[in-house]
């Protein structure tokens, strides 16, 4: 029986000729990731277990991105704990304020992850790197501690859902709309314990940034990982960034899938997820006019340069609606700098947006855009659970950067096409 792409990567890292869904394996890790929230818990577990060394200080990345620049004393202590651990073991890939960025935008950008890798991260959106043809999955802090100590982890080999993409996205429809549509279709546990393997002729028409966004939210369908085939675009992206040998895997023609889902990209419309589950999707045309008080554009899902460009294209020559706070957060220093160089920063500021240093901040209700009772935010982030961005009676509507920007201008949920007449 053939293997899926994910199964091939896992087999290779477990040193086995083949694996099948349900097998329990131990696989070698190419990278172990943690952030300012999860690393301190891992450090405590590491020390409590009496562990005294890390498997490879070059294969651990610690990114201080969630509550940074530190919002309070407790958060500062978390960062201090993470820094001191990195120093103790000579961990070189420590990314701090001024060099940091949101981990899942930063790691691919820095070339720390590449095709064929096997990566764990103590952050659920670690599945983002599937866009590069890597197996990567979110774990908790104890898994991170074990991974740092021995460079291996246990996995149950996942079965897979084959997601066949055809056609090409229409204007103002992006990777975010693709993944929201898919989650709406299969549900928040539609891919529980499984891989989402994206394939089909439509893949070639998706930019790398679209693929990162799609793989990023695989977890929101319960998936263990989401993965894309490696093509010319992938190789162009990793060239000049990723210097380990690339291992390109393809699913076998006779690989087994437990389900197939076909999405015609050209049929998709701008889509949002209403509170309080990412699967609660509606097309923008169906919820047009729903008032908002805040718009957040950024995050590990949508804080890359093409997201900034999509938002800036809407804001150019327009103003954020009176009564709406719009917070734009480029995901990394490099994206920030690129915004400055391309004149996007000026467009955001002239439109009346707040333009922030990279941080996860508002996405998890940490800081930089927390809401009180009764407020609603449109947000390019990934979760709209109860209380996610603040008060339990505040609401988050998930959307793409173009839709979030258009809604910020309109003062209520809108698509760019809706702006033409009035604004």
């Amino acid at each position: 029986m053939g293997m899926t792409m994910t199964q091939k990567i896992l087999a290779r890292h477990a040193g086995l000729p083949s694996v099948k869904a349900g097998d329990l394996i131990e696989a070698k890790l190419d990278l172990v990731l943690g952030n300012d929230i999860t690393t301190p818990v891992a450090v405590a577990a590491f020390d409590q277990a009496g562990l005294t060394r890390v498997f490879d200080p070059e294969k651990i990345a610690i990114v201080l991105d969630h509550y940074t620049p530190c919002k309070d004393i407790k958060s500062a202590q978390l960062c201090a704990t993470a820094r001191s651990f990195a120093q103790r073991f000579g961990i070189t890939h420590l990314y701090d304020v001024g060099a940091a960025g949101i981990e899942h935008a930063l790691l691919p950008e820095k070339g720390l992850v590449g095709p064929g890798d096997c990566v764990i991260g103590a952050d659920s959106h670690t599945c983002t790197y599937g866009a590069l043809g890597a197996f990567s999955t979110g774990v908790g802090s104890t898994d991170m501690a074990a991974g740092m100590a021995i460079g291996e982890n246990w996995f149950k080999v996942p079965a897979a859902i084959k997601v066949i993409l055809t056609g090409k996205l229409r204007p103002y429809v992006s990777g975010k709309d693709v993944i929201l549509h898919l989650i709406g279709k299969i549900g928040v546990d539609g891919a529980l314990y499984q891989s989402l393997e994206f394939t089909g002729p439509g893949v070639a028409a998706l930019s790398m940034d679209d693929r990162f966004t799609i793989a990023n939210m695989a977890i929101e369908a319960g998936a263990k990982n989401g993965i894309f085939p490696v093509d010319d675009q992938t190789m162009t992206y990793v060239k000049d960034r990723f210097f380990r040998p690339c291992a390109v895997y393809e699913a076998d023609p006779d690989a087994e899938y437990i389900r197939e889902v076909t999405i015609d990209l050209s049929s998709l419309e701008p889509t949002v997820s209403l509170p309080h589950l990412p699967s609660n999707t509606k097309t923008v045309s169906n919820v047009k006019g729903l008032p908002i008080q805040q718009a957040v554009i950024g995050s590990c899902t949508n804080g890359r340069i093409s997201d900034m460009r999509a938002a800036a294209a809407i804001f150019k020559g327009r103003k954020v609606h009176n009564g709406v706070r719009c917070i734009v957060i480029p995901a990394t220093q490099e994206v920030y700098l690129q915004c400055v160089r391309e004149g996007l920063t000026e467009i955001f500021l002239e439109a009346g947006c707040a333009f922030s240093t990279p941080t996860c901040g508002p996405c998890l209700g940490g800081h930089m855009g927390v809401m009180c009772e009764g407020e609603r935010s449109i947000s390019t982030t990934n979760r709209n659970f109860v209380g996610r961005m603040g008060h339990i009676k505040s609401e988050v509507v998930l959307a793409s950067p173009a839709i979030a920007a258009a809604s910020a201008v309109a003062g209520s949920i809108a698509s760019p096409d809706d702006l033409k007449e009035v604004y």
Partner: protein, 163 residues
Amino acid sequence: MVTGKVFKYGDNVDTDVIIPARYLNAPSPAELATHCMEDIDAEYASQVKKGDIMVGGWNFGCGSSREHAPIAIQASGAACVIAASFARIFYRNAINIGFPILECPEAVAAIQKGDTVQVDFSTGVITNHTTGKIFQATAFPGFINEIIAHGGLLPYLKARQER
């Protein structure tokens, strides 16, 4: 074996309601426990007693990878979580910290809030003393039982390395 009162919740209980992100900078499990479940059940943290049992529906623990979630439930005094299914990172995290979880959709469907329920961890047998009904939870694969028996992943790895 534990016997306790049931605190019951619905499907898709996410880690943001188990322990909201605004408290993730708290330094200790005891402090996390005081905010456990507060966004969907403000009474839980003050009412739960040691040995009580949390019951959830499908996809329990979905969302973020925060290990603070099973840590907070464990520190709150609950002896275990019984759910119809668990989100995969929560599942790993609970096992890795040695916190018992049981998958049993039939028990979840039949158990009500406030019931007195007994759980035998060695057999996976769940007994609802309020109604007299008995259920069998799904068994874990062998090596996961070993991790649980050692009290978590790191003690298990350490024991294995010393063997």
